[in-house]
Symmetry: C2
Subunit: 336 residues, 2 copies
């Protein structure tokens, strides 16, 4: 009996493979987690002085007080400049093997450096002015010494390492789904449990697999991409302008990557409307219909959609409590 | 002996009148402090959904993670629009009897409503869209019920009351100066102690009086204003464009109010460069020289300036620890 039970359990487990999110995100060997780096990275993440005119911080578009994004179709950077893509959530980005919608950054460290010198985001002409502003703030100089005690200079790589270290703490391993998978069968509603079965039977999990629902576990720097739309020609292509942004093709110039995108996480998806790379879809139920049609060539029944939405909602939070950072100031002198 | 001692003490006290900041700011009878209102107000203060396009929160220009301002000459609102005045710090604004540089708001409650409908700040056409966005967020509706249990509707006055209640917690009664005045004679440096005597002997305290160094205690709604420059004609008028903004005159249209301003607080002044209503002066020592010349017609000696700066630095912080607010989200639907 016992052996049979164990066998059944194994079959069951391998067939369904519902994994809870790990309680900690792993860090690369060259940037181990330390309390000093987390604290410094948190300050840098919230500090608008990283931007050319002091108005935009990482948190402006990736608001960790909310769902890790800005709730807008496209983000707005310095001087009201608007980008062309919707800000992905920073929550659980630590579990993605590549960053940005098109996977152009191989790590959180690499990602952190991009917006600083993007003319429509933080607008610095190079990383040099970022460093020169940081060096003007005695409190930051002190904290960099503590966070990187063996390093002589403060470079943009140290800034990026600190920010990435903080971001690796921004994870939500205690959603209702995680509690459910870890054994609390009351943590999810009946609709969510039905939805859990539906996302599997319909085929969503062929891409949105794994504990982060963003694809298989791959080494850092190796992305998991899919065409979107995989089945072109539906009404949605035009309605939501799905193809004018060529996605990963812009990075690789490889025709096979035309309209390919890094598979995004489902975690906290209920809280990150509007949807898709261009933020054109306003509601989660419509996003589910669009995905079923464009990726699986299926027209879902209304109850399937609502069950899937209930399941996706069970992937929200729980967001950890955080102490508000205090950004070090410079005494008696203006930076801008 | 004892009677003589008491008499001397009284004379001494009345002559110098160095007061520590109260540990709590008082609230108006119609808006008493409650834990629920503080918590709700904190969320609203940090929520960019208060603005027309979801990019600007109260904290954008009055950054409480820093010195309560944005460190810029002029603030930047939605779509990169720039205002004409420097953001005053929100820290200890609770101790001002009127708000804004020109005193046009009679209370924190009234102030909070202004930027929401200022076209170059949060850019709402009226307060109605602010309320309609708040009503879309179930978590906010719940919290307003808790904060205002007797009220049926959520109005802009409730929003303002909650924000003002949070702001009344943003005070810094534990600066080195406060510790010194309360008896810790090691809390201030020798230079700061000399500067303390200098600001009195030079005459600065005739305007920057009281525990908040922003003038005498007046009833809420009654402002304390001064001409700036009081002694026009110095090189600074032109160098720092001191007179083109007519200040309080714009509110009252009374010619006597030409170039009059609410006397700002000295608290945290070392951390809020650049200086003055137009943010034209980059350093605190220059701000001290400008004030001595334009307001008291005095040319200070370099050691007087550095002592005064040391004293002003003793008015920085200490900023209380705060838990980061979690902004309630709406599930599966876009707001923008």
């Amino acid at each position: 009996m016992n052996k049979l039970f164990v066998l059944c359990l194994l079959v069951h487990t391998s067939a369904f493979a519902w994994d809870a999110l790990p309680q900690h995100a792993s860090a690369p060997a060259e940037n181990p987690m330390t309390a000093q780096k987390i604290e410094l990275g948190k300050k840098l993440f919230f500090d608008p002085r990283i931007s050319a005119d002091g108005t935009v911080s990482c948190n402006s578009c990736h608001n960790v007080m909310k769902s890790g994004d800005d709730g807008r179709p496209h983000s707005v950077g310095i001087q009201g400049k608007e980008g062309g893509r919707s800000a992905p959530t920073v929550w659980n980005a630590a579990f993605l093997s590549v960053q940005f919608w098109d996977g152009r950054a191989k790590s959180l460290e690499e990602q952190a450096k991009g917006p600083m010198i993007n003319p429509v985001e933080m607008g610095n002409s190079s990383h040099e002015p970022v460093i020169s502003r940081i060096l003007k703030v005695p409190g930051y100089v002190e904290e960099f010494k503590k966070a990187f005690p063996k390093e002589k200079d403060i470079t943009i790589d140290h800034v990026a390492k600190a920010i990435a270290t903080y971001e690796r703490t921004l994870i939500t391993p205690n959603s209702p789904y995680d509690l459910y998978v870890r054994g609390n069968k009351k943590a999810m509603s009946a609709a969510a449990i039905r939805g859990m079965a539906t996302v599997q039977s319909v085929g969503c999990l062929s891409c949105h697999s794994g504990a982060n629902f963003s694809g298989p576990t791959l080494p850092e720097g190796v992305g998991f991409y899919q065409k979107f739309p995989r089945f072109p020609g539906s009404e949605y292509d035009k309605k939501y302008d799905l193809t004018s942004d060529s996605g990963r093709f812009q990075v690789t110039k490889n025709p096979e990557d035309q309209n390919s995108w890094r598979v995004p996480t489902w975690r906290n998806i209920a809280l990150t409307a509007p949807y898709f790379h261009n933020g054109k879809v306003q509601s989660l139920d419509e996003a589910v219909r669009v995905m079923a049609k464009t990726q699986l060539n299926q027209d879902l029944k209304p109850e399937q959609v609502s069950d899937i939405v209930a399941f996706l909602e069970s992937l929200s939070g729980k967001f950890p409590d955080q102490k508000m950072p205090r950004l070090p100031d410079i005494s008696g002198k203006a930076i801008y």
